[in-house]
């Protein structure tokens, strides 16, 4: 029996059409898009085609798309680029307590350079209150960076509302949409954001390639300095093979989304209902309705996530856990702690993300396999009996 892969948040397999396009590209194109001869121009055409495909996925103008080496670089570019670009205007940045590490650690670096950061709390569902964002704005605020959908609990933030506030106060607004783009409809014009990060490996494109949407006129300094690639916004010869793959993946995501989305949601809900019916004392994390359709975060009381993950792996089921950031001690996910979960429960969290190859049979096997594993580990756990006895 094959492995059941339920970790699409960590990376998706290539769409067959993407694989096809990348191989065809390798076989026919090798030039550098900046070269003016015909070999180079062939490469430039492939690059611009991919740019249009990616732009169409988020309703942007192709000129507003900059290719990057993935979601992390895209986020770094947005945040550090605005910080440098607007360094004369102000030094205050607003974010939330549940951002991805690329945001948290970009801001950690900026703190070293004397930027001030306000990090906002979320409610128990992981939602940010737009009113709190407005309250945090000062004359010194140059940037707001808030994710579109959380990559651990799936909660979708009120980005359009926050964008209106940002516009009103003339503050640049970046959203990390890596977990959302290609999964749910994302329209930069409807959202009203200035900067948006996306990554190909969230929608069946290759890893190591992503993009940053930069609304025309947004003051973003380059992260990588060098030549005039990407309209002088990101130097360095493009990863054209990856970019071609991303372009096709974006097109397939746009075309297949109406079919994909309800299917993923149905599979995820089947898993959720099955686990709730089969395993007592579990908690579903994230917002009950405003959430990513393919993600399920489950905290299983009295047991630890890595143990669950390893045992599922032995049964041929690949899932993620956010139990540990091991700096000497195992640490619970900052996202789950921000939503108010206690440390022990947060440690016992599994993160399932279904994909276009997932079947109902796969889901049913998980629902069948997990309960005995939970029982085994609970019987081993000193927390189980103690809390039961209380």
């Amino acid at each position: 029996m094959g492995v059941i892969y339920l970790d699409h948040l960590s990376g998706t397999p290539l769409h067959p059409k993407v694989k096809e396009a990348m191989i065809a590209h390798i076989n026919t194109v090798f030039g550098n898009p900046v070269s003016d001869h015909r070999i180079g121009q062939q490469a430039a055409q492939a690059l611009e085609k991919a740019r249009s495909q990616v732009a169409a996925l988020i309703n942007a103008d192709p000129k507003e798309i900059v290719f990057e080496s993935g979601g992390t670089e895209s986020v770094n570019h947005a945040i550090k680029g605005v910080a440098i670009g607007l360094r004369e205007k102000g030094r205050h940045i607003i974010t939330t307590n549940i951002e991805h590490k690329s945001v948290l650690n970009s801001l950690r670096t900026l703190r070293l350079l004397d930027y001030q950061v306000t990090s906002l709390d979320v409610d128990r569902y992981g939602l940010v209150d737009p009113a709190q964002v407005e309250k945090a704005i000062t004359p010194d605020t140059i940037l707001i960076s808030i994710m579109l959908a959380n990559n651990e609990i799936g909660t979708i933030e009120p980005i359009a509302d926050i964008a209106k506030i940002a516009q009103k106060h003339k503050v640049v607004f970046h959203t990390d949409a890596v977990a959302a783009v290609g999964v749910i409809p994302v329209d930069v014009k409807e959202l009203g954001v200035d900067l948006l990060s996306l990554a190909a490996n969230q929608f069946y494109g290759p890893p190591g390639v992503g993009a940053l949407y930069i609304k025309r006129g947004t003051p973003v300094w380059p992260l990588l300095d060098g030549g005039m690639q990407e309209n002088k916004r990101r130097a360095g010869t493009e990863n054209l093979i990856g970019i071609v793959g991303m372009g096709v993946a974006a097109e397939m995501a746009r075309l297949e989304m109406p079919e994909r989305l309800p299917r993923l949601r149905a599979l995820r809900d089947r898993l959720k209902e099955g686990l709730l019916a089969q395993i007592p004392e579990i908690i579903i994390n994230g917002h009950p309705t405003q959430n990513l359709p393919h993600l399920l975060s489950v905290s299983i009381k009295y047991v630890e996530g890595e143990s669950l993950m390893l045992m599922l792996d032995e049964e041929g089921i690949a899932v993620a856990t956010r139990s540990a950031c091991a700096s000497g001690s195992l640490r619970a996910s900052h996202v789950l702690i921000a939503t108010g979960l206690d440390f022990a429960t947060a440690q016992g969290t599994l993160l399932f993300s279904v994909g276009r190859d997932t079947t109902e049979t796969d889901i049913d096997r998980v629902i069948e396999t997990l309960p005995p594993i939970v029982q085994t580990l609970r019987e081993m756990s000193p927390l189980y009996k103690k809390e039961q006895a209380l």
Partner: protein, 171 residues
């Protein structure tokens, strides 16, 4: 990520359970540091006649618990007190750098159980409930420790400001 011996002990942990009339009980760890381990011992003629454990923790923590019970069984109390975290890690064929602290937990829990037995024998009745609460309170929420020199470091620090070594992060 883990050695074959670790996976073997994780998948088939030895000596899981409790000893209701244990002569000594050791409890270490807390939910904040991610692992909790309880060790129960039965002592006969100064030897560990029986030993069982219960653990809440990652794969390494469970393998360490299983291994240390195997190593301690049948040993004299003095021999058991000399089992170190290094011995456990070595017997498991090594542990990933960022999981080495799990082996501390195993040795600490075993030694705590022996100490508890000796205290009881000496007529001292330690209040386990109180000791447990002190453990939970001790790390003070957000504390992170360098896995090499065990000094307190800032959350998410890429390297330890005391010993200068890079701190591995899992993602």
């Amino acid at each position: 990520m883990y050695s074959e011996i670790v996976m073997n002990h994780f998948k088939n942990p030895r000596n899981v359970g409790e000893i209701p009339d244990a002569d000594g009980v050791g409890e270490v760890g807390n939910p904040m540091c991610g692992d909790i381990m309880n060790v129960f011992i039965k002592v006969k003629d100064n030897r560990i006649a029986d030993i069982k454990f219960k653990t809440f923790g990652c794969g390494a923590a469970i393998a360490v618990s299983s291994m240390i019970t195997e190593m301690a069984k049948g040993k004299t109390l003095e021999e058991a007190m000399r089992i170190s975290n290094k011995d456990v890690a070595q017997a498991l064929g090594g542990l990933p750098q960022n999981k080495l602290h799990c082996s501390n937990l195993g040795a600490d829990a075993l030694h705590a159980a022996i100490k508890n037995y000796l205290d009881r024998k000496a007529g001292k009745v330690p209040d386990l409930e109180k000791a447990r609460e002190e453990h939970v309170a001790a790390p003070g929420g957000e504390t992170c420790y360098c896995p090499y020199c065990f000094k307190e470091v800032a959350e998410e620090a890429p390297f330890c400001i005391f010993c200068g070594r890079e701190i591995p992060h899992e993602h």
